[in-house]
Assembly symmetry: C2
Homo-oligomer: 194 residues x 2
């Protein structure tokens, strides 16, 4: 069973309220280009993420707005910023790392909200059934090449509004020399003792 | 069989001649601190590495001088610099990526010399025998944890002047949430069809 790789660079999701704090009252995100997940897009808007130690400029805001504000970075970014965000499912920000987001009109100081996104594969309930993933919460991925190997703990995320694709952060992609659109092999295992 | 992780951040090895070009006639590297491999050290000296696209400042020079000049970076660095260095054994710089090194007294324009270092484990001939690695050129490494998995193509490097340790670049370390000094498990396999 194959799946296509989609690489997530550092990015930010924002609530409508925080969008207005960052970009101004009544502000609407502008679509730069759609991403593969239906209805989602990279916006033209960028912010700066700041910690006591350092900052990273030019961090893309993904749209549309969500019910939570969240900053997704790599561990490489985390070292630069001097923080230790946990590995989490998107939206699971409870007791994640604090971080400040700065936009042209204001700043949002998050007491929690910065995570390393877990490795995951998006699929619809129909694909889950068709591809044999019913009852399987996570899988291992086999990657070939000079810096190949296996990625454990790749979570299956089922949602009716999905495009079948595996999301990895830039650390995973760069460690394994993966590019957007590469096809890799899923080893299906329901429980392998991790 | 366990091995300890040593993480290699981007660094530069230089010939005596290039050291003098970068830092001045008769210059000697100053020891900042020894590293685990016998006789090797991080020097106090830092350089800037430059490509047409970008540059990275504060890149550490490792001493002592060698018979070749080589820049070892991560793929994350390579994207920033806009180059595609091959995965290589240290010293194997033939047709590797071009890069320029700038020091306080001059610059060295390398037509080849920038690589991504391969994953490798240092050991002495005695350890190779004692630990059962005779005839084994590379192994796989099992890593646990939330972003665990397996690293393939970890080369065995045998030299009488060795400290038993696995060297990974920052991409591999960050993808797997590894820290310096972590202990990981070797799966010994002589030939696994990669």
């Amino acid at each position: 069973m194959k799946v296509t790789v989609g690489i997530s660079n550092r990015h930010v999701h924002v609530t409508k309220e925080h969008l207005e704090t960052l970009f101004g009252k009544g502000y609407q995100l502008q679509i730069l280009h759609p991403v593969n997940q239906p209805g989602q897009y990279a916006s033209t808007e960028q912010v700066t993420i700041v910690t006591k130690k350092s900052k990273i400029e030019g961090v893309r805001v993904l749209g549309p707005t969500r019910s939570y504000t969240q900053v997704e970075i790599s561990r490489t970014d985390a070292f630069k910023l001097g923080i230790t965000p946990p590995v989490r499912d998107s939206g699971d920000v409870f007791e994640s790392a604090p971080i400040t987001i700065i936009g042209p009109c204001g700043k949002v100081e998050l007491k929690e909200g910065c995570i390393l996104a877990n490795r995951h594969i998006h699929m619809t309930p129909e694909q889950q059934k068709e591809f044999g993933f019913i009852g399987i919460s996570k899988v291992r991925i086999q990657i070939g090449g000079e810096k190949g190997g296996i990625l454990d703990n790749v979570y299956i995320k089922v949602d009716p509004e999905s495009y079948y694709e595996m999301h990895l952060d830039t650390d995973d992609a760069n460690a394994f020399l993966l590019k957007n659109g590469d096809e890799v092999e899923i080893e299906e295992e329901e429980d392998y003792g991790k």
